[in-house]
C-alpha cells in the first residue's frame, strides 16, 4: 500500500519484519544503537492519514 510517499508492508516473517524496522529507522535497534545502514522511512502523520482512509 502506498501513502503518497512510502506506504505499508505486511508480513508474517519475523526476521523480515525485524530487518524492515531497521531499514526504516537508520538501522537503530532502539536507544541509539545503530547496527546497520538504514534510512529515514518513518511515516509522517499526513501520510498516516492517507494510509488510514478506507478505500
Amino acid at each position: 500500500m502506498t501513502t503518497g510517499e512510502g506506504g505499508m508492508i505486511t508480513t508474517n516473517d519475523n526476521a523480515l519484519a525485524d530487518r524492515l524496522r531497521l531499514l526504516r529507522n537508520h538501522g537503530d535497534t532502539g536507544k541509539y544503537n545503530h547496527i546497520s545502514i538504514g534510512y529515514n522511512y518513518r511515516m509522517t502523520n499526513i501520510q498516516g492519514a492517507i494510509g488510514s482512509e478506507p478505500r
Binding site: G27, Y32, N33, H34, I35, S36, I37
Partner: protein
C-alpha cells in the same frame, strides 16, 4: 546513558519533575555499524568526551516562564 554523571543528573532532574534524556550517547563512529565498516580508528576525543556528558533539557512551546525558572534553578542547585 553511559556515564555515572549522566545517570546522577538524570536521577536528580527526574526527582525534581524535569524530564531529560541522552540523545547523543556516542560519537557517530562509535555506532556498531560504523565500527564494523572500520571508522573511528583515530577517534575524536572531544566528541567522545562530550557524548559522556551531554543531556537534553525540556525545550518546547508549552513551557511556561515558571517552568523555565524551575528548570534553571534546579540545575544551578545541582552544580552546587
Amino acid at each position: 546513558m553511559t556515564s555515572p554523571s549522566q545517570r546522577e543528573a538524570y536521577g536528580y532532574l527526574n526527582a525534581n519533575g524535569i524530564a531529560t534524556a541522552v540523545h547523543y550517547p556516542k560519537a557517530v563512529y562509535e555506532q556498531p555499524i560504523y565500527q564494523k565498516l572500520g571508522y573511528g580508528r583515530d577517534g575524536c576525543p572531544v566528541s567522545e568526551d562530550v557524548s559522556r556528558r551531554v543531556m537534553s533539557l525540556p525545550v518546547h512551546p508549552s513551557l511556561s516562564a515558571s517552568d523555565l525558572q524551575h528548570i534553571a534553578q534546579t540545575i544551578n542547585c545541582f552544580e552546587d
